[in-house]
């Protein structure tokens, strides 16, 4: 009965979404308040029904209902409860249900926080979000129904893929999807503005906090995915330039560009059309990511061609959404006029450079990701594009961007003066240069030219952000504190610096050793000794495991004990490497137990990775910056005040008034 309720709720949600798509848009077109009001109501009802549907699937997992095919394929009665719940989004059907659940949640959030939005505008926003909902619910119902029954039911389930039985999986997909789907709000605002024909700064003002929230969720989602790959896949890498990873990085790059271009459009009224285009692009890339991951096209275009049902549906939806929004853009976007005047050296110009560089990086990643698919589709051979390509094109674009981060906030809107800037940043420049040279020597005792340059740039980002903060604090009037937005920007930018430090030192100075050891042997990595004490057999809830005990010493002193495991799960009988990691502020020590080679000999992978944790700390700081930015007072004051405050002309160079 439970799966039928879930299925039925989903069907009802489809009709509600249809109402949400049509009624408010017609209402806005004809000016009928009753129809427009239906948008808000329908969005809330849609959330309710999809939540019911999602809850029913979760219940089927909790109760081990193996008469549901999806549950039987992805769960097992021996699976611990937290993984039974996480298994809801552990495979294709359920993760799509999570997708629409998130979409409905964003829709609900817009109705709650939109009290001051003009009725016409809100109606169109609801319509656009409803349309996306229709597409995805239809996709689930037609091709990927998680509620399909298995008759006769299975005695027990085939278990969740052991790779996914991990705390990282419980939160990674929801975070990532919150981000992906969150860009639908910025998209809906942009399309609503195009539909309404008013491409003024109104939609921009409203969509800024939404974009920031979506972006910060996406950031956290990507970090969690990277962290999970690091400790769960047993390879010790943290980014593989895998198409699935790229699928999440591309919307992130577009979203980052969007956040910055929204700032220019709101503050200066410039880049109006470009910002609309970016909002469309960010969500289109989210859809492209969904298509890449969900259609099977990544494993092979032929796999896609031989089982086209799912892929073709998403592809068609992708074409409809992107095509119609771009068509609308071409029709409605004002004829090329940049809007707002500014000099060659101004914050506008620097933010334009930011956008250009982010787009270049995006194009490079897109090219590397799509090239194998395109070539294979054209029968030009099967190729793979390796990490060296991505490193070669991505890093040279990102380092100049990091240099600009240091300068941007200190330059005034409209026109900046170069000379005082030199004076301001002279000290920062010198200190960055010196620390860039000295830091690696102190931290790891060696260095290279590339390391020095990257570290100097990282220090430059952090120190110039600090300089900016200092300047703002000195200039504030009286006791008034700075807005949270300023702190948000500084923290996020500093996060970039922290990230660059982590990536530079970890990739330049990590030492990896794959060795054959016997119990009692010691492996020496840098000045750490890894002693294999014993390997013993243990039993988990749904697996058995060989667990090694490795004692780490440094100069005769004990540093810690690591317990890497080699698990074999009962149902899927696949071996799984559970790495064990000792993390401190300055380094990670990483041990993974590979295969048993002979009687008492094991293959062991041992890593010393300096500054590894900084790689995750950096993006988390960026996300924290996003949280600070949206907690800004101006988003909380009552709508009326905002509208009044905004109506004052924003004249004069508001130098340093960045809430980028």
């Amino acid at each position: 009965m439970i799966p039928e309720i879930g299925h039925f709720a989903l069907v009802v949600a489809l009709f509600v979404a249809l109402i949400q798509t049509i009624m408010p848009v017609v209402g806005a077109y004809r000016g009928i308040p009753e129809l427009m009001a239906m948008g808000r109501l329908a969005a809330r009802a849609q959330f309710l029904f999809i939540a019911v549907s999602f809850a029913m699937l979760t219940l089927a997992f909790i109760e081990n209902d193996f008469t549901v095919a999806y549950v039987a394929h992805n769960s097992n009665s021996a699976l611990p409860i937290q993984y039974r719940i996480a298994a809801v989004w552990g495979a294709h059907e359920g993760s799509l249900l999570l997708w629409v659940f998130m979409l409905a949640f964003w829709g609900l959030a817009v109705t709650v926080f939109s009290k001051s939005l003009p009725e016409h505008f809100l109606a169109r926003v609801m319509g656009v979000m409803g349309f996306i909902g229709v597409g995805f619910i239809l996709f689930i119902l037609m091709t990927s129904n998680p509620f399909d029954r298995l008759i006769p039911g299975a005695v027990d389930g085939r278990d969740l893929n052991p790779l996914l039985q991990d705390p990282g999986l419980i939160i990674h997909p929801p975070m990532l999807y919150m981000g992906y789907v969150g860009f639908s709000v910025a998209f809906a605002f942009a399309v609503a503005a195009l539909l309404g024909g008013h491409l003024d700064a109104t939609w921009v003002r409203w969509s800024r906090p939404w974009t920031t929230v979506a972006w910060l969720f996406l950031t956290i989602g990507i970090v969690l995915g990277s962290w999970w790959a690091y400790y769960e896949l047993g390879w010790g890498g943290w980014w593989f330039w895998d198409p699935v990873e790229n699928a999440s990085l591309m919307p992130w790059l577009a979203g980052t560009a969007l956040i910055h271009s929204l700032a220019v459009t709101e503050k200066r009224g410039a880049f109006k059309s470009w910002t609309v285009l970016l909002a469309i692009l960010a969500f289109s890339l989210s859809l492209l990511g969904t298509f890449l991951v969900r259609s099977g096209v990544l494993v092979s275009v032929h796999a896609f061609a031989s089982d086209p049902e799912r892929g073709v549906f998403i592809l068609a939806f992708l074409v409809v959404v992107i095509g119609s929004s771009l068509g609308l853009y071409a029709w409605r976007a004002p004829s090329v006029h940049v809007g707002g005047r500014f000099e060659l050296f101004s914050r506008e110009m620097l933010l334009l450079a930011n956008n250009v560089l982010l787009m270049a990086a995006l194009a490079a990643v897109l090219m590397g990701t799509m090239a194998p698919i395109v070539l294979d589709a054209l029968n030009l051979g099967k190729i793979s594009v390796g990490p060296p390509y991505f490193n070669a094109v991505f890093v040279p674009v990102m380092l100049p961007l990091a240099i600009l981060i240091g300068v941007g906030p200190l330059v005034g809107w409209r026109s900046g003066d170069v000379r005082p800037l030199f004076k301001k940043l002279r000290t920062v420049f010198m200190v960055s240069l010196i620390t860039g040279v000295v830091l690696p020597l102190m931290a790891v005792g060696k260095t290279t030219l590339m390391v020095m340059a990257s570290l100097a740039i990282a220090m430059w980002v952090i120190l110039s952000s600090a300089q900016y903060l200092k300047e703002r604090l000195a200039r504030r009037s009286g006791n008034k504190g700075l807005s949270a937005g300023v702190y948000g920007m500084v923290v996020a930018h500093a996060g970039v610096g922290v990230f660059v430090i982590g990536v530079t030192l970890s990739s330049a100075f990590s030492v990896e050793r794959d060795v054959h050891v016997r119990v009692g042997d010691t492996v020496q990595v840098n000045d750490f000794g890894f002693h294999l004490d014993e390997v013993k057999s243990i039993r988990g809830p749904n697996y058995h495991s060989d667990m090694a005990q490795v004692t780490i010493t440094r100069g005769g002193e004990k540093v810690g004990i690591l317990t890497p495991e080699k698990r074999t799960y009962f149902v899927q009988t696949m071996p799984m490497t559970e790495a064990s990691i000792d993390t401190t502020f300055f380094r990670d020590l990483y041990v993974a137990l590979a295969e048993q080679r002979d009687e008492d000999g094991w293959a062991l992978r041992v890593y010393h990775r300096p500054f590894q944790a900084w790689i995750w700390a950096g993006p988390l700081l960026m996300a924290l910056g996003g949280i600070l930015a949206v907690s800004d007072r101006r988003y909380r004051v009552s709508a009326k005040h905002v509208v009044q405050a905004r109506q004052k002309p924003a004249s004069g160079p508001v130098s340093g008034g960045a809430r980028a």
Binding site: N161, L163, G234, G296, V299, S300, H302, A303, S306, D307, L344, V356, A360, A363, A364, M367, G368, A371, G381, K382, I383, S384, V385, G386, P388, Y389, A392, V393, P396, V397, D514, V515, H516, Q572, T573, M574, P575, M576, T577, A594, E595, R597, D598, G601, A603, R605
Partner: protein, 184 residues
């Protein structure tokens, strides 16, 4: 600068940037593409020794040899028609098994052995890398005219008709060290 000049200047800079970036990216892409070949293609001479590429097929049952005391492994990758011996000094992935699909990245040595830098295996029980599925040929006929049942069931290859290439069947009973590799 006048606005017009400024616009021209900006457009010029942007255009130059795009051209340079595209040239660099395409160059990087060319240098870092790795083609995929099956054992039959390798034996037919599709690649020269020293050229990096990816080799895919099945790990032939009974051919995996792990040396004791070091991490070196040797095994044979076959597409049921031809085979290539592979040497790899490193940790094999969790899901690497005899009789299962694998993809190895590396290059051929002058001795005809494929020296792998990286060995990949499938992600879960039922998944086979599609390239491997494409590369596999139907099992050759046994001496009594019967055919060993369908050796593998690629993830999505069900509806595709496989190209059948007949050639000398491989003797699957000879152990690895006795197999003569004739890639030259």
């Amino acid at each position: 600068m006048k606005p017009r000049q400024k616009r021209m200047f900006l457009a010029g800079v942007a255009l130059a940037g795009v051209v340079v970036a595209a040239a660099l990216a395409i160059n990087a892409l060319r240098g870092n593409m790795a083609y995929f070949f099956s054992p039959s293609q390798v034996v037919a001479g599709a690649v020269q020794p020293g050229e990096p590429f990816r080799l895919g097929g099945m790990v032939r049952s009974g051919t995996l040899e792990k040396s004791s005391g070091s991490l070196e492994s040797r095994f044979i990758v076959t597409d049921n028609v031809q085979q290539v011996a592979v040497s790899y000094a490193g940790i094999l992935p969790d899901l690497f098994k005899e009789g299962q699909g694998t993809v190895a990245r590396g290059e051929l040595g002058r001795d005809g052995i494929f020296y792998a830098e990286e060995v990949l295996a499938k992600h879960d029980e039922s998944y086979m890398p599609p390239e491997v599925a494409d590369a596999m040929q139907p099992m050759p006929y046994n001496k009594d005219g019967t055919r060993t049942p369908e050796p593998l069931r690629p993830a999505a290859a069900g509806k595709r008709s496989m190209k059948v290439i007949r050639s000398e069947p491989v003797d699957l009973t000879v152990p690895l060290h006795q197999v003569e590799i004739n890639n030259q």
